[in-house]
């Protein structure tokens, strides 16, 4: 399949006037690439309330030989997985551990003092700095070779409508949280809005033309001119849409199942829809950075499909001695890992457009959490599981790093993407530079 090289050529090829552009500018780009360097992508997946440590962390450092229960779904990808133990969120300041767990996770910087009270500590506001995904996105967008239509996309799955420190982890700057889109139809509209509109328009234009003719027959000759002119514009639009639709796409526009309401019970289906949209958007090169947020900090998912009737956060407060809670929490975390595996599998199965190998060869997915453990609310040993070869790290490993500030890991992400920042977030935690994971 031929690929046009510039957007203008693309439009010329379609024979579409500038006036029709509003309708087709939402069509997927056809991979306008001019550089030969491989693409690099970063995806960050978030789930809340910590993990059951004994069922999560590999026992030994070194080669990854085996996965414990929670990470079992990643078995097919063991050689491309990197488990990092000892990465700690050392940011203190205002807000309780959940708020700081969420708000400082990707920003590595303190929250502003504010008026939102958590379960303990002082009230807090928003994070006082940019998050690493946006930092990297800005870098990529600043260079023509790595520019994409959106730069980054923020997905969510059943995120509450309210905007506060528990529901936001992505920041474009201090006090500038970015809301994830948790409605797949809304996300679809953002990515492909114009296309669906075109189909609907096409279906009604015939009737409009017929109606215009009917009215024409009722008015004077003089007035007919007005209607004829109007009819000519309608016809023109019809032609433009037909031309746009004739153009072969290099990849299909995803079909969404209609009528799925954003609600707890539909979490599994929504997760699939969002992941499908995300992979599709990577294929279309709409963005090279993406985040997927499952619920929110203190998220209360009720996983009835796993026969768990209690809510996640409530369960996570149970002491470790409560075996039943531990089992359920393990199941919940494993279920999140299954979603991760679904995403990774799709990436592995999708060829890299215009390149070698699969999407997974050029993408690194990071699964992380706000807390190390739900009941103690510890911010030490934040779970970080990396899969994929997007960042040139040495994979197939389990590392025990002692107790390093997570700022250094965030810096590693940036450096691996070619963005050599000297520090990130609270600079006092960055003195030893990025972690060496290559």
């Amino acid at each position: 399949m031929t690929q046009t090289t510039t957007r203008r050529d693309f439009l010329r090829h379609l024979g579409i006037s500038a006036a029709a552009f509003p309708f087709i500018c939402n069509l997927p780009s056809l991979g306008f690439e001019s550089s030969q360097a491989r693409k690099q992508r970063l995806i960050i997946l978030f789930s809340p309330n910590g993990v059951v440590r004994k069922n999560f962390w590999p026992n030994e450092a070194g080669e990854l030989n085996e996965f414990k229960e929670i990470l079992k779904p990643l078995e097919p990808f063991r050689d491309r997985t990197l488990v990092l133990n000892g990465v700690c969120d050392k940011i203190r300041g205002d807000g309780d551990n959940h708020m700081r767990g969420m708000g400082c996770l990707l920003t590595g910087i303190e929250l502003f003092p504010g008026n939102i009270q958590g379960g303990s500590d002082t009230p807090a506001g928003w994070a006082s700095g940019i998050s690493i995904d946006q930092e990297i996105k800005n870098f990529l967008q600043s260079q023509p070779e790595t520019q994409t239509r959106f730069g980054s996309l923020e997905f969510g799955v059943v995120v509450p409508e309210r905007a506060d420190t528990w529901t936001r982890m992505v920041y474009s700057g201090p006090n500038r949280p970015i809301a994830p889109i948790d409605n797949p139809y809304q996300m679809f509209r953002k990515l492909y809005g114009g296309v669906k509109d075109q189909e609907s328009l096409k279906s009604v234009l015939d009737i409009v033309s017929a109606d215009l003719k009917k009215v024409e027959s009722m008015v004077s000759a003089e007035d007919q001119k007005l209607l004829l002119e109007h009819a000519s514009f309608v016809r023109q639009m019809e032609q433009e849409i037909t031309a746009a639709q004739k153009n072969p796409m290099t990849h299909a526009i995803p079909q969404l199942d209609p009528g799925v309401v954003v609600a707890n019970d539909n979490l599994p289906q929504l997760a699939r829809m969002q992941i499908d949209l995300m992979v599709n958007s990577l294929v279309s090169d709409f963005a090279r950075v993406a985040t997927l947020q499952f619920t929110h900090s203190v998220g209360q998912a009720r996983m009835k499909w796993l026969e768990i009737d209690e809510t996640h956060h409530t369960l996570s407060h149970e002491p470790n001695s409560n075996e039943d809670a531990q089992t359920k929490l393990t199941k919940i975390n494993q279920w999140y890992c299954e979603q991760l595996a679904y995403l990774v599998q799709k990436l592995a199965d999708t060829p890299e457009p215009g390149g070698q190998g699969s999407l997974l060869d050029n993408t690194t997915v990071v699964w992380t959490n706000e807390l190390g453990e739900g009941n103690s609310h510890t911010l030490n040993n934040i779970p970080f599981v990396l899969i994929g070869n997007g960042l040139n790290f040495k994979m197939g490993q389990s590392l025990k790093l002692g107790s390093v500030p997570h700022n250094r890991l965030l810096m590693s992400f940036a450096h691996a993407m070619g963005h050599h920042i000297p520090h990130f977030g609270n600079a006092s935690f960055c003195e030893l530079g990025p972690l060496n994971l290559g």
Binding site: A19, P22, L111, F112, P113, G114, N115, I116, Q117, G119, S120, T122, P123, A124, G125, W126, S128, E161, R162, A163, D164, T165, P174, N175, R189, D197, S200, L201, S203, V204, L205, I207, V208, A210, D211, L212, K214, V215, M218, V219, S220, E222, D223, L226, L227, E229, H230, F233, V234, Q236, M237, P258, G259
Partner: protein, 813 residues
Amino acid sequence: MSIYFQDIRAYSFFWKPEKGSQRIRCRRLTSASLILSSLWLLCGPLSAADPGSPPTLDGAAIFQAKCAQCHGAAGEGTKDYPISLTGDKSIHELAKVIDETMPEGEPELVSREESEALAAYIHDAFYSPIAQARIKPATVEFSRLTVRQFENSVSDLLLSFRGRQSNSTEQGLKAEYYNLRSFNKNKRVIERIDPIVDFSFGAEKPEGFPTEPDMEKRRSDDIHDNLEFSIRWQGQIFIPETGDYEFIVESENGVRLFVNDPRKPLCDAWVSSGSDTIHRNQIHLLGGRRYQIRLEFFRYKQKTASIKLKWKRPQHVEELIPTRFLFTDRTPEQFVLTTPFPPDDRSVGYERATSVSKGWQDAVVQASLETADYVVDRLNSLAGIGDKNSPEERTQKIRQFCKKFVERAYRKTLSPDEIKMFVETPLADVPSETGVKRVVLLTLMSPEFLYREHGRNQFDDAAMASWLAFTLWDSLPDDQLLEAARKNELRTREQVTRQVDRMLQDPRTRDKLNQFFTQWLRLDRMPEIVKSQELFPDFNARIVSDLRDSLELFLNELLESPEADFRRLFLDDSLYVNGRLSQFYGGELAADAPFEKISFKEKARSGVLTHPLLLAGFAYDQESSPIHRGVFIARSLLGRRLKPPPEAVAPLAPDLHADLTTRARVLLQTSADACRTCHYMINDLGFSLEHFDATGRYRELDKDHPVDAHGVYLNRAGVEVSFAGSEEISEFLVAAPEVHEAFVEQLFQFTIRQPIRAFGPDELTLLAEHFRSHQFNIHGLLKEITVDSAMKMKSIEEESLRTAGNSAEKTEK
């Protein structure tokens, strides 16, 4: 700027194009006019005639000899060249074209002088738009919805599915105060009405709160602050004119403001973070309507607490939202389009929608898509679908909603064929959301929605309902009108009058009247009013904002009174002033006093003519401008059609003539003969207001000379009227028949958007007579305009149907 051949109205005649009598009543071709005509042609590179040269060639004769063969005797065209010779080139441009290219293939057959004469002749005889308006009798023009009508219609269409808007009169917002930072019903301590949201609580709780910490925890592990509390204000905000409104909440605490959309806050500062304490956002809203507003506030572990709710209206400065715009009742959510449209043609003095363009068509499609997305998103509430409805019930309700949607949009009962075409076909074989989207798209893109009913040779009851609604509201007929149409109760004058009486009470009618006054008083064309800071250090944007409020309060009072006496616009000697305005214009109010009506009789105030907003608007930054004021009086009040000046002349710089008064300087500036023909009239009208300086303040002296405010005007009856000062000219104007007619004509054409002469050559005189004999009641005039035009439309359509039927027999299609 084009240069028109100007008819000499040196004395007497007030020229209007009359239907039937195509010519001007008296055109005097004096030698002066010929000199002038050659003077004007001086302005272009072509002509080199010097003043005083002998009379030129006979353009009409040359035309008949050399041009009529192809162009027709009156430029109407012939079989060889069937295009009429009309357009908007200037005489100068025409002369050039003729000289260089005509006759076709043999341009040398016409000399340069002949070209000039030809251009002058054809321009006036039939070429120019003015000549055309003279020749072709005025007709009711087939038209589409104007942009404003489109926006209003879509908004009202969706509102019709949500229940009525309440128009209760209780002002202020309902306030609920809670003794906890959540809005916990058990902790509601105060319920009252707050007229304005402007509170500084300091480090305390609001007055009236229990003094003991009455802290019952919400949950077992909840943390509290003894000083925490929350407040919710809700109600309606009245929007006085269509435009973009900026809402501002100032608070160091957590606040959330919802305007119109109850789900997504317009300003979301619930999380106080950093030092941002001013939160603002903009929203587009339609005039004459009330929108729901809800403000939520809480204070938690913060040193101080305060809140201010402000807005910035179009062309006003930021201010606390005044009580008069706030009401305590609830109102449903409304839909307001944000798609921008290309503006409608206003070249004839009213917004006219008799042309289409690609830009307009694209905007229609975008707006339809925007509306369709909204409808699909809110489908359940619009169609009345509940959780308990079965899928069959849901489908049924959707179909019902679609049918009603189309009926209301097309403002008529649908035939079975139409139901099939517009409802069932788009809904068939697709998921319901897609189907609904298609119905909305189809409906809003259809000519049945986009075009007005008149001109289709069938002015039936539905068309009558539409006519009334678009005239008074610029929007769709409501259910009561549609019902009356269905029951054949819109046939007689009495029936129509009854509906109009009801419709006059609707706030949308008031909104349309307000729009009219904005145009009539030229407020929409005034540039930003800025004055010299050296001369007028206390005149600033806030004063201008206050002046707009002052005028608005006056007009509101006038229109709210049942008498709505037009004469008050000229004779009222009072002004609404607040403390700030009082400091500047007089009135002895305290510096922070609210608006009050004060008499300014000693200061020669007399109606709108002397309202400082107009006086300051029609002025330069240092000096008054009698020319601008005179043009306003001539055009808006006296209804004169002034052509642009023949030469573009820059005003004489005041400092170059430092010892001249404004009057003297203007006389000097307009002393050339070419200027005198209009300016002798314009100047005197403006001079009558010379007692008011550039800021509209009264003065006795101008540059140490006593102000000379006398002037004369030759009225339509041929009598030279003289006046000295604003009160005398106002008295003259209020009694002058031409002023009554000018007002009637402008109001008619503004509301109906059609030339008044299309409704009969006597329509204007009849309406003006009615106006005079009914105590100049503006509401009465509007009613008469609406009812009379509606009844006349019926007969006009019946008449044209008959003639069309006759001519159809004669011509072939």
